[in-house]
């Protein structure tokens, strides 16, 4: 079949006229349709990072703990004892909007493949989700499907889903965000990379058969939505977690030996991206024979095979004399195994099908000469400081607290996490619901703490502060369980980068993230960019989701948020100024969406975080919690709910406006509960480190009481907090 390439076809492949002109120049001829498809897959935003690349390069990615930073399937960090943690977060936004169950499920499947491709056994999954307003017509359906899909895939594979975050905001009505993160553990000596080497080595395809799934999915994931997006439906990929479980076990079994030279999972634009990346990294050529590719349907064209996004597939370069042993492993696991090509020294990507050469393209052009854009950007205008006195205090503290705790932003996410198996593998030491999840490194005392964070309303108001805050909050969540923060993965979700104001958000967030990563010693080791999250010209709030991990040397020295016993003293660590701009109180209670978000003092973050961690490890802290969304009183209430205990609080003399003190979202703060016997030691240590501590009360009874007046019973708060989600979902 000869289709000549018209401008319409070029446009339908998402290539701009000047990009196509570049193709004509380097090829010195017209590409055929298959070749055009290959270019479009390699050069679209999703694979080439053409709008973001110049900015990603500015991010801090190194540190003594980093074994492998961005550029591979996932980032690799040292966790001591000859072991590494391998982790990454990735978006599956558009597919999840179209078909929430399968979109989310295949997102989880994809991120797990990124991790086990590198030789790690996945040990924990997390997810960062953003949905539209609760009262938007599609929201409930999307929540239902996405949560079921994440659970359906992760539960079946048997990797615990231990954490994540969920926001509801009208800004996501037309573009939900589904960001999935996976963490794996490997021996440092057994990490596998995607750089092919050697000439004439077999290129091997394993896993599921190739079908006509998600053809143009990668391009779809980068195309702005419009009213016609419903028509793009048949490109949905269906996940097969059972096959992925087999693939996981077979790959790890193969990797225990020495057969693998290079390995790459097939994700977006499957065979094309994986083959080109392996060849390009090795400076090689690659020959593929499509007649050897296991297909699910008869009559698939070269174009379809090269662009198929069928799930649960991998491409590897093997040592030729280990190929038979490798085949035996995959056959035992009842997976397809086919030698589909070989490495060459030509530097060309040559594809044969039914006796003909259907593509002959230069590898380096495909992989390295993708366009790179220095997109124009305009900074977000600064938001003015919003003083507490411009916002009224509440006259019913209890009702206000219950409204916050029982509303969509802060209500318990139990409805979600109970659909996720969060205990399988037998190493979940801190379950969902705390500041960070903790999974023990199997057969050791070590623990990996993990969290995902970003506060999009801060990023929208002040991108740079918001970027800093996302890292700072992740840092705090790790410190609050007693973990030493190690490294970060990010998932940068934004609108259309061709609009300067959106690009301005992107740049601002990256600057903030970078500054915070340096100050807090948390390099970025992997990540993903998702742009064009807009519908009919309306962009999502800037949402640079951060996934971070930390290390506990001994899981017995871990803190949780739950109040432990009557009489423990409650301290606020860090300085409270009562910053209400962009707080939940200002937005939800006072209806004020303006104002600057709380400023982030990175030196204070570092100092206070290091302090709380050292106090936890020293055994001085009975319970710890960082203060974030909702402020101090909300954090106290969360500790009370977790422990089933109340408290007697008293406003400090220099508290300033009461609502600012109780609901302000000042950064770099924690609550620490300390037994009376240890309080003096903790205070002395704080003074020595110049860390502000304020006594705020003690754990007592079954009610939250402030200055002698009942604020709310813990039991009553619990029902508000627990009921919102199930009641909402039952609709």
């Amino acid at each position: 079949m000869r289709v000549s390439v018209t401008p319409e076809i070029v446009a339908a492949h998402g290539l701009k006229p000047d990009e196509y002109a570049h193709i004509l120049r380097v090829l010195n001829r017209e590409p055929n349709l298959t070749e055009l498809g290959i270019f479009s897959a390699m050069w679209n935003e999703h694979c080439s990072y053409k709008s973001s690349r110049v900015w990603l390069r500015t991010m801090p990615t190194t540190g003594p703990q980093v074994v492998c930073g961005p550029g591979e399937n996932a980032g690799v960090v040292d966790i001591g004892d000859g072991q590494v943690a391998i982790f990454k977060m990735e978006s599956h936004n558009h597919p999840s909007f179209i078909e929430p169950y399968q979109g989310a499920a295949t997102g989880v499947g994809g991120i797990m493949r990124d991790v086990f491709t590198m030789g790690a056994r996945p040990v924990a999954n997390l997810n960062a989700l953003r949905f539209g307003a609760p009262d938007h017509a599609r929201t409930r359906h999307l929540v239902y499907g996405v949560v079921a899909g994440i659970g359906g895939y992760g539960n079946c594979i048997g990797v615990p889903t231990v954490g994540g975050e969920v926001n509801f905001d009208a800004g996501y009505n037309g573009n939900i965000l589904v960001n999935a993160m996976c963490i794996g553990i490997a021996d440092a000596s057994k990490v596998f990379y995607s750089t092919a080497s050697g000439i004439g080595n077999p290129v091997v395809y394993v896993g599921s058969k190739t079908g006509r799934d998600g053809i143009h999915g990668a391009s779809m994931a980068s195309a702005e939505f419009d009213e016609n997006s419903e028509e793009k439906r048949p490109t949905v990929q269906v996940g097969d977690p059972f096959t992925e479980k087999l693939l996981l076990e077979a790959c790890l079994e193969l990797m225990a030996g020495d057969a693998v030279i290079a390995i790459q999972d097939m994700g977006a634009a499957g065979l094309t991206c994986s083959a080109v990346e392996m060849a390009s990294k090795g400076g090689l050529g690659l020959l593929l024979d499509l007649d050897k590719v296991p297909c699910r349907e008869a009559g698939m064209t070269a174009y379809e095979m090269m662009l198929s996004e069928s799930q649960e597939r991998m491409l590897m370069v093997l040592h030729p004399d280990r190929t038979d042993a490798a085949r035996a492993i995959f056959e035992r696991w009842e997976l397809d195994f086919a030698i589909v090509g070989e490495t060459t020294d030509t530097g060309r990507f040559i594809i044969r099908h039914q006796g003909e050469t259907v593509a002959d393209l230069p590898v380096d052009v495909l992989a390295e000469q993708a366009p790179v854009y220095q997109r124009p950007w305009t900074p977000t205008p600064p938001a003015p400081y919003l003083p507490a006195k411009e916002i009224p205090d509440t006259d019913d503290l209890g009702a206000t607290l219950a409204r916050l705790m029982g509303g969509p932003h802060l209500a318990s996410r139990r409805w979600i996490w109970e659909q996720y198996d969060h205990m399988v593998m037998g190493d979940t030491i801190q379950r969902p619901g705390g500041d960070a999840a903790v999974v023990r490194v199997h057969n050791s005392r070590k623990g990996i703490a993990a969290t995902t964070d970003v506060t999009p309303r801060y990023c929208a108001a002040a991108p740079k502060e918001g970027g800093k805050q996302a890292i700072a909050e992740a840092f705090r969540n790790l410190c609050a369980v007693g973990a030493k923060p190690l490294a970060v993965t990010d998932c940068l979700n934004f609108g259309n980068p061709e609009r300067p104001e959106i690009m301005g958000q992107f740049v601002g967030c990256i600057e903030g993230i970078s500054e915070a990563c340096i100050a807090l010693d948390m390099p970025i080791v992997s990540g993903n960019v998702s742009l064009y999250n807009e519908t009919s010209g309306v962009a999502i709030p800037p949402t640079p989701a951060i996934g971070a991990i930390g290390l506990l040397a001994d899981v017995d020295k871990m803190a949780t948020v739950a109040f432990k016993q009557d009489g423990d003293e409650i301290f606020v660590i860090g300085e409270t100024q009562g910053h209400l701009g962009q707080s939940l109180y200002a937005r939800e209670i006072a209806g004020r969406k303006d104002g600057a978000p709380p400023p982030v003092d990175l030196a204070a973050e570092r100092r206070n975080g290091d302090f709380i961690r050292s106090q936890i490890i020293a055994g001085n802290v009975a319970a710890a919690h960082d203060i974030s969304d909702g402020g101090l009183l909300v954090a106290i209430a969360e500790m009370a709910l977790a422990g089933g205990l109340g408290c007697m609080l008293s406003l400090p003399r220099n508290a300033g406006p009461r609502h600012g003190f109780l609901f302000g979202e000042d950064q770099a703060r924690y609550i620490a509960c300390v037994s009376p016997q240890k309080a003096q030691a903790m205070i002395a240590a704080a003074q020595e480190k110049n860390v502000p501590v304020t006594r705020f009360g003690s754990v007592a009874g079954r009610d939250i009481v402030l200055d002698g007046k009942l604020v709310h019973s813990v039991a009553g708060l619990r029902s508000a907090h627990e009921n919102w989600f199930p009641a909402y979902m039952e609709g």
Binding site: E99, Y101, V236
Partner: protein, 80 residues
């Protein structure tokens, strides 16, 4: 009135269940199984007396809830 509804995966959409069933059948020694596709079968008892109305209603039920029209097709049969 009784309706029989069949919901099947669209052509070309991966059917992991069907694939696994086909494998299991061949392990059990059943040869000659070329393809297995699994769908749903739903029986609905309706109070309505009018056939045309019932059919319209069932169609709407399928489109709105019973079938996931992104990946599934459906057929409705009405019995007297």
């Amino acid at each position: 009135m009784k309706a029989r509804i069949h919901i099947t995966l669209k052509k070309g959409v991966l059917d992991p269940q069907g694939k696994a069933i086909a494998n299991a059948l061949s392990h059990l020694g059943f040869d000659g199984v070329e393809e297995v596709r699994q769908g749903k079968y739903i029986e609905i008892d309706l109070a309505d007396g009018d056939k045309a109305q019932a059919r319209a209603k069932l169609d709407a039920m399928c489109a709105q809830l019973l079938a996931n029209t992104v990946i599934e097709n459906y057929t409705v049969e009405l019995q007297a």
